[in-house]
């Protein structure tokens, strides 16, 4: 079961490039979207990461950042991000494999890949929305935007 709304997100530190790691704490103070996904290089143009890349300006309107997370290694991520011209970081949940996804309840043990699981965290690192999509179905971006709107609405009160 994926961690539910109201749960503080488990901290993590993952490589984003061969010599650079990011941790959850780096994103304190702004909404953060965590998008776990099964693998780089899925053979469709409108794949999940490509879609988020296109919607990135809308996420940024809410001051939000997005991180893609899969079990692929950093070199694979770099090649994939370059090929798809992605403008946000991909994190390698590579060693121990799927360790962070497991903490979030977003790991498919049978297949050894991350689930298609989405988490929207508030500026305090608390999960405010989560959703797990069937593995074959790209969940789109509408749920994320609604969650970000919910957060923004709360902040205004």
């Amino acid at each position: 079961m994926a961690l539910a709304a109201g749960t503080p997100a488990p901290d993590f530190k993952l490589q984003v490039t061969p010599d650079q790691a990011v941790s959850l704490a780096d994103f304190r103070g702004k909404p953060l979207i965590l998008a776990f996904y099964p693998a780089d290089w899925s053979p469709v143009c409108g794949d999940q990461m490509a879609l988020y890349n296109e919607v990135l300006p809308e996420f940024r309107k809410f001051g939000a950042e997005i991180l893609g997370i899969s079990v692929d290694g950093v070199w694979c991520h770099l090649a994939f991000a370059k090929d798809r011209k992605l403008h946000f970081p991909l994190l390698a949940d590579f060693e121990p494999k799927g360790g962070v996804a497991q903490k979030f309840g977003a790991y498919d043990n049978a297949n050894g890949i991350c689930e298609r699981a989405l988490f929207v965290l508030d500026g305090d690192g608390v999960i405010r929305w989560s959703y797990v999509s069937p593995i074959a179905i790209n969940p789109g971006a509408d749920g994320i935007l609604e969650a970000l709107e919910g957060l923004a609405g709360k902040g205004a009160h």
Partner: protein, 179 residues
């Protein structure tokens, strides 16, 4: 997400083929440079033929601009042609020439369709068509579009198989009969 619904519903700013009172409305979110949309193009034509007056078809733009550098320009050209009542002619032209969507080729297509070139230049220079394309794109995001092409049948995202015209038409017939 489950229960993805079309937002906003089909309205006056949409490009529509088929009768307004058709029992089935098929909305496609598409990208002119996407090869899968190119595959869908003749299939949609066949489905339209099979269903006849039972089907209303609507096309909305969903250019994946980062992946497809010519997609936005092509979408804007189709919208600009629409302002000269030639949206569908341009739409068809673009899908039939997916290998020629660069700016020079787009101008050639416009000439071929006898668009008023002066008017076209003014239209493309204004922000109206770009806004229309962006607004289509955002409506797609809000509706749960998760790739191209994405189809909506009577307002609900269609996750079935569209790659086979017979199967796609049968699914739409079933909706028509249930209405």
């Amino acid at each position: 997400m489950s229960g993805h619904g079309l937002k906003p519903p089909v309205g006056p700013s949409d490009h529509v083929e088929g009768p307004a009172d058709a029992p089935v409305t098929l909305v496609e979110y598409g990208d002119y440079q996407c090869p899968y949309c190119g595959e869908a193009y003749p299939i949609v034509k066949q489905v339209q033929k099979k269903l006849g007056a039972k089907l209303r078809f609507v096309f909305r733009n969903f250019p994946l601009a980062e992946a497809h550098p010519f997609a936005t320009g092509a979408a804007e050209m189709a919208e600009a042609a629409g302002l000269q009542d030639k949206f569908w002619q341009m739409h068809d032209m673009l899908y039939e020439h997916q290998d020629a969507l660069d700016p020079d080729s787009l101008v050639e297509h416009a000439r071929h369709l006898h668009l008023d070139m002066a008017k076209l230049k003014t239209t493309l220079g204004s922000s109206a068509v770009a806004e229309h394309v962006r607004s289509d794109f955002m409506s797609g995001v809000r509706s749960g579009v998760n790739g191209t092409p994405s189809f909506f049948v009577n307002g609900v995202r269609f996750d079935g198989n569209w790659t086979d015209a017979d199967e796609f038409a049968a699914a739409l017939e079933a909706v028509a009969n249930a209405v």
